[in-house]
């Protein structure tokens, strides 16, 4: 048996409807590493990320975390993954702080939360808006609140789909450093982003190589 | 048992024949409609194929 890296994918194939998007996809990720998934729109980058975190069912393929299939691990794997998709997952009626408190109580499992609510809000620059209902926040602020969720939950594997959308330049820089710290601390990250960002040590992954023209 | 007696169905002609008629109608529709649909499918597939070949 090849020595399994922490997060390994082999022979993954995904479809949208009856159209196979990509097949035979393999990638390896170890502690402290990050991958930037590249490729033009419509290739299936989002479908790939959703399949990896268990949100969508792949056609076939083998996704392993710590050597075990994620489909068998189910909840154990979910306790180690944090997913930020196109939608922020922020409830408009709740205030910024309440949203994070809810995230902790509903999603925290195992060791205590990495960072307190106030500290997390401060880190993403939302300290002043803690008591404001989320629906009054701007798109960029909501995005930052979604990313603050990454800080309050202790999750080794980050799967981020366009995390920088609607963020200003300063926020992009601070988020990049945040991911850097996460990697330095032994965390892993899979990122899809059309916006430029620098992150030392991040590997590029071109999805197009797995997209045959005709299934 | 003359033919007309047969048709009369002991006075229940209307009910018996409309019941059998409706059942026959449903059988007919369920036979014809899928055949028309499959011809339509063939036409659209051929049209898409021709269009695909033009693009290549």
């Amino acid at each position: 048996m090849t020595s399994h890296s922490l997060f390994s994918v082999r022979g993954l194939a995904c479809a949208r409807g009856d159209r196979t998007l990509f097949a035979g996809l393999s990638l390896q990720l170890d502690a402290g590493e990050a991958i930037h998934v590249r490729g033009p729109n419509g290739l299936g980058k989002t479908t790939l990320l959703r399949a990896l975190c268990g949100l969508s069912r792949p056609l076939r393929g083998d996704v392993r975390w710590r050597g075990e299939r994620t489909s068998d691990l189910a909840e154990e794997f979910a306790a180690e993954v944090a997913y930020v998709g196109h939608l922020n997952g922020v409830q408009g009626e709740l205030t910024a702080a309440e949203n994070l408190e809810r995230a902790i109580r509903v999603f925290a499992r195992g060791p205590d939360a990495a960072l307190g609510v106030a500290a997390a809000l401060d880190r993403v620059g939302l300290a002043r808006l803690a008591g404001k209902p989320a629906r009054h926040l701007s798109q960029g602020q909501k995005r930052r609140l979604a990313l603050a969720r990454l800080l309050v939950l202790r999750r080794p594997l980050w799967i981020l789909d366009e995390p920088f959308t609607a963020l200003d330049v300063a926020a992009v820089a601070s988020l990049s450093s945040l991911i850097g710290e996460h990697m330095a601390g032994g965390g892993l990250a899979l990122i899809v982003s059309h916006q430029a960002f620098e992150l030392p040590g991040i590997r590029d992954f071109d999805l197009a190589q797995f997209c045959k023209v005709r299934s | 048992m003359t033919f007309s007696q047969f048709l009369a169905m002991g006075g229940f002609a209307f009910y018996v024949w409309s019941a059998y008629g409706f059942a026959a109608f449903v059988v007919l529709v369920n036979t014809v409609q899928p055949i028309i649909h499959s011809r339509k499918v063939w036409r659209t597939l051929r049209r898409d194929l021709d269009r695909a070949e033009e693009e290549e």
Partner: protein, 227 residues
């Protein structure tokens, strides 16, 4: 602060109530609908108490059933739009447990108020007072079934065009047993005072079946809808 399944479910439950309370207009629509629909019947049929009394169990139950159907969209629709539903699917806790907490919260906000409000409308519909207790009892037992069964079509039609009407088309055939047992229970106790225990126990049995089945089915439906 170690998170456990129960605290996660409690969190979903309380947050759901909090969110609905701040958007209380949606909660009220189901109740107001219940009142309006019930009030229409005396206008349509005439105020004779004898006639109203005969129809009262059926009218009250159909109105409660339609009010619940109307409010089924509140279960998942807003969480689907803002993405918090997607996060539930990635949570480390069994989805059916979290969905059960959401359905329970939905019941507290629609089914329970309907049951508590029904005596007022029973008086309006000239229902004999001896049957009002059974009415509230049957609604308390029946409306959770409506919320539980309704969660499956509500999940299946997320993001589907014409979803609202489609939910009622999918759910009403499944509601027929609840309607039969519920309305019959009230009619029995309103009539010659038959013991409506049989009807209520059947309702309870049906609730038990549905509690064990519906959370799994609606979480499977959510996974399909968000695939």
């Amino acid at each position: 602060m170690k998170g456990g399944l129960l605290s996660a479910m409690a969190a979903v439950f309380t947050r759901e109530l909090l969110v609905f309370w701040r958007r209380s207009t949606e909660v009220m629509t189901a109740l107001v609908f219940f009142v309006i629909v019930t009030t229409l019947f005396p206008l349509a049929v005439g105020p004779e108490r004898h006639e109203l009394m005969l129809m009262a169990p059926g009218v009250l139950w159909v109105a409660a059933l339609l009010a619940t159907t109307l409010s089924l969209n509140h279960l998942f629709a807003s969480d689907y739009q803002d993405g918090s539903l997607e996060q539930l699917l990635v949570s480390p806790y069994p989805l059916s447990a979290l969905v059960f907490a959401k359905i329970a919260a939905h019941w507290v906000l629609t089914g329970l108020p309907l049951a508590l409000l029904s005596p007022l409308l029973a008086v309006q519909m000239a229902l004999p007072t001896k049957a009002i207790g059974t009415l509230v009892g049957s609604l308390l037992l029946g409306t959770p079934i409506l919320s539980l069964i309704g969660a499956v079509p509500a999940a299946l039609t997320l993001g589907v065009r014409g979803g609202g009407v489609l939910v009622s088309l999918l759910v009403l055939p499944l509601y027929t047993p609840v309607l039969i047992f519920g309305a019959e229970a009230v009619a029995a106790s309103a009539g010659q005072g038959f013991a409506s225990v049989a009807h209520l126990s059947l309702l309870g049995a049906f609730l038990a079946v549905v509690v064990s089945f519906a959370p799994w089915a609606s979480s499977a439906a959510l996974r399909v809808s968000l695939d």
